[in-house]
């Protein structure tokens, strides 16, 4: 078809002009992929780290525990629950059990109210980010009588204690008697949540079991993490059905932490605003460039019109050219963005290097881009629509131009 030929050749005849357009599309595509991948990565990162810190995507606990987290409310048959967790889910479910109790921590001079969390050091590494956030010392060993604890760096600072020093934990057991024990600090962790850092002490589950008086197979909570591809609600429903009769409840992080849900939504709202701003900028650039370029070619269009090319054919020609430009531009933009994202996924983007005082966020401030196919497709559709609109006005205008005026146009 002759118009395809003309369109294709027109693009390459005036490379400067075409590159103006191609680069406009490419920069737009590049910016949009970069920003969207960044925003998706960031919200995922922040929510993920907060969720994992606060007990996993799904939590199993004794019936009524979420309403009132009393030490008496327990998962009493952990071995059976573990078996069910493994069987119920087709893919690899990662879980970790905890015994939780409210207590007090004291150093030689100070004391503070804290949450005592008894963990299985091996399981915990598969579920919780805390083991990897230990910045001083090391994570717990799987020795039920080591007498060691891990606490937040902020708490240690507050208590005026350092690594390998001793602290005392006080907690009331199941019968209401106050028990205490002395422990050595094995490691300090740093997280993005100072509140969590200040209020959490981790030690081997068996030591807490003895301290609080939990039965052999009993725990307070089981944190369950799922793979990124899985739907939290679906997995939770499956587990809920499978765990009937165990006197436990299954909650997702959305049930447990409306605050996080709000944060997540707030962030999505802000992201939508940012994306709208970005797209209006892209749209503006595209419309601007296409108008500029099409008006440059009016004389050429006039010659064709004099030779009997119909207005519809003029529009067709311009749209064909735009289509070629978009395809080439998008390809260039995607290639650039792919390079950026590949590199970025390797190194991560450390936000703390952009602003002072963020270093303590540690890994929490390192953002990795995330490509969500759905969002990318939406973005491309939007870019195509915008190019279409960008061409529509000058194309209509050009096809309606009086031939004489077009020919005299400089």
């Amino acid at each position: 078809m002759i118009f395809v030929k003309i369109a294709w050749r027109s693009i390459w005849r005036n490379p400067r002009r075409s590159w103006v357009l191609i680069s406009a599309v490419a920069v737009g595509v590049f910016a949009f992929i970069g920003v969207v991948a960044y925003l998706d990565g960031m919200s995922m990162q922040l929510v993920k780290s907060a969720v994992e810190l606060q007990g996993g995507h799904i939590q199993v606990a004794g019936h009524g525990y979420f309403e009132n987290p009393a030490v008496r409310t327990q998962v009493r048959q952990m071995p059976q629950v573990a078996t069910i967790l493994k069987d119920a889910s087709a893919s690899d479910v990662r879980y970790a059990s905890q015994i939780r109790a409210a207590g007090m921590i004291s150093s030689a001079e100070h004391s503070a109210g804290i949450a005592i969390v008894g963990v299985d050091p091996v399981q915990e590494q598969q579920v919780s980010p805390v083991p990897s956030l230990v910045t001083e010392g090391g994570w717990l060993t799987d020795d039920p009588a080591a007498g060691e604890v891990i606490l937040g760096a902020a708490l240690a600072e507050q208590l005026g204690v350092r690594l390998r020093e001793r602290i005392v934990l006080m907690v009331s057991d199941l019968d209401g008697a106050v028990n205490s024990g002395a422990y050595r600090i094995r490691g300090l962790f740093t997280t993005s949540s100072r509140a969590f850092e200040r209020s959490t002490v981790l030690l081997h589950q068996e030591e807490v079991r003895t301290l609080v008086g939990f039965a052999r197979d009993a725990v307070s909570t089981v944190a369950v993490n799922i793979d990124p591809g899985q739907e939290v609600l679906a997995v939770a429903a499956t587990l809920r059905a499978a765990l009937v009769g165990m006197d436990v409840e299954v909650l997702t992080w959305m049930d447990r932490s409306p605050m996080l849900v709000m944060m997540d939504r707030m962030m999505n709202l802000v992201n939508v605003i940012l994306v709208v701003i970005l797209f209006s900028a892209i749209g503006f650039t595209l419309i601007n460039s296409f108008i500029m370029v099409i008006f440059e070619r009016i004389r050429e269009i006039g010659i064709m019109a004099a030779g009997g090319v119909r207005p519809g054919q003029v529009r067709l020609l311009l749209f064909l050219e735009a289509a070629f430009i978009v395809v080439v531009g998008a390809a260039v933009g995607i290639a650039m963005a792919a390079a950026l994202i590949t590199w970025w996924s390797e190194v991560g983007l450390d936000l703390s290097s952009f602003a002072e005082g963020l270093s303590r966020f540690g890994a929490g401030a390192v953002i990795y881009p995330r490509v969500v196919l759905e969002n990318m497709v939406t973005g491309f559709v939007m870019i195509f629509v915008m190019v279409f609109l960008a061409v529509l006005y000058p194309a209509i205008k050009a096809s309606r131009f009086k031939v004489v005026d077009a020919m005299n146009h400089v």
Partner: protein, 411 residues
């Protein structure tokens, strides 16, 4: 020179479409970035202010080491600082109240929990912070009921107590004196922060002073000021005028590093967004400049044939660009100022369920706030100016190697 300005001015109106392209790009950039800044600054300010006024208030006077080491040894003498004097010297202090904060183990018959024990001035506390909603009958602490306390709602539930029950409080007080006291639970407090509701006990300042065996001493003097954004400056000014060496003034940014860092994290994160946005806009400005340069090759050829020096022509081009950019910036600021003036009065309400969530958590921020403060224009104006200067380089370089004959032939 004047003639050049005149010529440039005429030129930019002669080809309006071309002028509109560059001016439009600049205008758009200024509007978009200023509006983004406006909503970002505005909403963060509103959020910070609501959190600050809920909890720490803007400033606190503390023992210089109390913030790092929260021990009662690092407390202040009531007599050392005169509140009325402070307020007289610094009229921007709106309200002031003393607090004594320590830790203890609170036990009921069935359970016990560690708690932050706050002794507050029942009269002045409500004027400095909204944290304790001391407005209802059952949560009104008065000095004449010294053995009454308020418990965090979640903590009371966890301990299994209701108002009217009693709790035993064990503390390690001033100079390590052990304290033990029985209190009647008068009411429950909901602070809006689950962590606090889980581990907070509130009593009067005098009752706390008795419990910790430290009469006449306190740990924090909480100051409410007229603005939260100037807290750092206020803190410095106040500290320099304090009569005693034994006190430090801390702004909320130091008291609540999480809040400050959240904003910094968000700012850093937005910086990434602006990098991409500016890349796009800078590209656009460069493009329109380069294009209009190319379009005018023939015109420049004619000018040169008439004897204009290339330096004059590039001066003309630079002048025209500067005019277009300034027009764009000016129009952008005017339009943004108008939009912001309309939006600044009323926040854009968030969706209903979002607002319910806010209510649950005691946040006062319920929408997107726009600020009209001039700093929202800083980034767009500076960035656009720099990008325009860079774009000017292209025509100037181009003019250097300009051959009039070739230019005349091109058309």
């Amino acid at each position: 020179m004047l003639r050049l300005v005149k010529l440039a001015w005429r030129d930019i109106w002669r080809n309006r479409r071309r002028t509109l392209l560059t001016t439009g790009a600049v205008f758009f950039a200024v509007v978009v970035i200023s509006l983004a800044n406006s909503v970002q600054f505005g909403t963060y300010d509103a959020m910070e202010q609501s959190v600050v006024r809920l909890t720490t208030s803007e400033l606190q006077v503390q023992h210089p080491r109390f913030h790092e080491e929260r021990t009662l040894e690092h407390s202040l003498q009531e007599k050392a600082l005169d509140i009325d004097e402070l307020r007289l010297a610094h009229p921007w202090i709106v309200a002031a109240s003393r607090r004594l904060t320590g830790f203890g183990l609170v036990s009921s018959d069935s359970a016990s929990a560690g708690a932050l024990i706050m002794g507050v001035d029942p009269v002045h506390e409500p004027t400095v912070a909204g944290l304790l909603r001391l407005d209802s009958e059952e949560t009104t602490l008065t000095a004449n009921r010294p053995q009454s306390v308020l418990l965090g709602a979640v903590m009371a539930r966890n301990l299994g107590v209701i108002p009217g029950d009693s709790v035993v409080v064990l503390t390690q007080g001033y100079h390590n004196v052990m304290g033990a006291e029985v209190y009647a639970v008068q009411g429950l407090v909901r602070t809006g922060t689950p962590q606090m509701d889980r581990a907070t006990m509130v009593t009067t300042l005098t009752a706390a002073q008795d419990l910790f065996s430290m009469p006449g001493r306190y740990t924090e003097l909480v100051l409410r000021t007229d603005r939260h954004t100037t807290a750092r400056e206020h803190a410095m000014r106040l500290e320099s005028t304090l009569a005693t060496e034994e006190a430090a003034v801390l702004p909320w940014q130091v008291l609540m590093p999480d809040l400050d860092q959240m904003r910094r994290l968000d700012d850093a994160s937005n910086a990434i967004f602006y990098v991409f946005l500016l890349l796009l806009i800078g590209f656009e400005i460069f493009n329109t400049t380069a294009m209009s340069m190319m379009e005018r090759v023939r015109e420049f050829g004619v000018m040169m044939a008439m004897g204009l020096k290339p330096s004059l022509i590039s001066g003309l081009v630079a002048m025209e660009l500067a005019m277009k950019v300034l027009l764009g910036i000016g129009a952008g600021i005017v339009v943004t100022a108008g939009v912001v003036a309309i939006l600044a009065g009323e926040p854009i309400a968030l969706s209903q369920d979002m607002r319910e969530l806010y209510d649950d958590f005691g946040f006062v921020v319920d929408g997107l706030y726009f600020t009209s403060r001039p700093s929202i224009y800083a980034l767009p104006v500076v960035a656009v100016s720099i990008m325009s200067l860079l774009s000017m380089g292209f025509p100037i370089l181009k003019m250097r190697s300009f051959a009039p004959v070739k230019a005349l032939r091109a058309a």
